[in-house]
């Protein structure tokens, strides 16, 4: 038996977010500050009717997967035009979007949240060589920008710096939340060679 399959995939991620007040999830909150907000003292069971009002579903349209494929089969137990208990399996393996295609899902899809936040760094203008742009997080060298297009950090506030030779330094205080993605467009304008280079953090 021999089977060959070629598949091509195209993933279009559409970040459509809609809120529906369908009501399902119980509010989880034992924090003092949040209790103060809800009007409940700490360690007091929250009001159930208030919980019902707060429950929310966020419905997102995920990646739309479009594929094309070709398969060739030869063997005694294959039924291309009739019913086969394996037919569904083969088709599924060919088209399984999470197995066959190189689709990367952004953080937060399917509620996946490992407690880290993502920082995506891009350089402006595009002529800046990312291999020469040094990235510092809290004044510590993290690497060059070509290796740090995506950084995963624990929730917190950080000082982000991007430096490149003969260009202005980019410095910004960033706030990272778990399961969130923060896009940074570091603008590094060119400066005249006579001007002294900015000091590293």
């Amino acid at each position: 038996m021999r089977r060959a399959a070629i598949s091509l995939g195209l993933a279009l991620a559409l970040g459509v977010l809609q809120n529906y007040g369908l009501g399902q999830t119980p509010a989880q909150n034992s924090d003092d500050a949040a209790s103060a907000v809800s009007g409940n003292p700490p360690n007091t069971p929250p009001d159930k009717s208030a919980q019902d009002q707060d429950r929310k579903w966020h419905v997102k349209l995920g990646p739309v997967l479009v594929g094309a494929g070709y398969s060739r089969f030869r063997g005694p137990f294959y039924y291309p035009y009739g019913f086969s208990q394996f037919d569904g399996f083969y088709r599924a393996s060919l088209w399984d979007p999470y197995w066959a295609y190189p689709v990367s899902y952004p953080s937060g899809y399917f509620g996946y949240n490992d407690g880290w936040g993502e920082v995506k760094i891009s350089l402006e203008p595009r002529s800046v060589d990312p291999k020469l742009a040094e990235v510092y997080v809290d004044n510590a060298f993290a690497g060059t920008a070509d290796h740090l297009k995506n950084i995963w950090l624990e929730p917190g506030a950080y000082e982000l710096s991007v430096l490149s030779k003969n260009r202005t330094a980019y410095r910004r205080r960033i706030y990272v939340l778990s399961g969130r993605s923060l896009k940074i467009a570091a603008k590094l304008d060119s400066v005249s060679p006579e001007k002294p280079a900015e000091s590293k953090p």
């Binding site: 966020h58 995920g62 997967l65 594929g67 936040g117 929730p155 399961g179």
Partner: protein, 230 residues
């Protein structure tokens, strides 16, 4: 020995001042640069209501879920400092009796955490495909080999349901980060001797569509009203 203690204390103070996180925003050159501005007792102030898009781009915390954000700048006269307190600011919906005081960073971050913890993600991923299948097969009825082929199509929908708080911002660590961000970008409380600016957060349970707002500020027992335009 005593001198050394004073030296250490002094150095600690210098270090705290030097490495303290910046507070507030940069005030524009004059109060007139703000869409809403007024002057009372020599104190000029300007304000602007942030749009949802501006709030989204200026903050990592998702303030659109709970609040309206107003950037306020104070310009005290030289030599006449002003005492700034969040309690002196309130936001009123024009044409109604509804008014709300500015919320502290702790209060707002707690509200956001509660809302995030109560949310849950549902992701729907449709998939479509078309393909061609060919091959030589044995007919089970006759036992003879046969060539065949055909086009097949396939559609599917994947549905994923996340755990509570799937949107993020629902943990205590996130609340601390949001509190830090809101505090650092917020209008500083206390004595202001030079132009100072920062954000005020007004928690609104429900934002009315096409509603217009005015910012009220109590200065020396007198009210300053700034009509905000979004």
């Amino acid at each position: 020995m005593m001198k050394r203690k004073w030296l250490v204390a002094g150095l600690a103070c210098v270090a705290v001042i030097a490495f303290a996180a910046p507070k507030g925003t940069v005030a524009r050159s004059t109060a007139l640069k703000y869409p809403a501005h007024a002057e009372l007792d020599g104190v000029a102030m300007g304000a602007v209501l942030l749009t949802s898009q501006e709030a989204r781009s200026n903050f990592v915390s998702d303030l659109n879920h709970c609040c309206l954000v107003v950037e306020v700048a104070m310009y005290p006269q030289q030599g006449q400092p002003v005492e700034v307190s969040l309690n002196d600011f309130s936001l009123r919906t024009i044409g109604t009796d509804n008014a709300v005081k500015a919320g502290s960073a702790k209060l707002i971050s707690g509200t956001l955490q509660k809302k995030a913890a109560a949310s849950r993600d549902v992701v729907v991923s449709p998939s479509v495909g078309v393909g061609y299948e060919s091959g030589a097969v044995y007919d089970p009825m006759t036992g003879q080999p046969r060539r065949g082929g055909g086009i097949y199509t396939q559609t599917g929908v994947g549905v994923g349901i996340g755990s509570p708080g799937g949107q993020g911002s629902g943990t205590d660590a996130d609340r601390k980060v949001m509190e830090t961000e809101l505090d650092e970008k917020g209008l500083s409380e206390g004595t202001v001797a030079t132009p100072a600016a920062g954000y005020l957060y007004f928690p609104l349970a429900k934002k009315a569509k096409n509603a217009r707002y005015e910012l009220e500020y109590m200065l020396n027992g007198r009210k300053v009203v700034l009509r905000l335009a979004e």
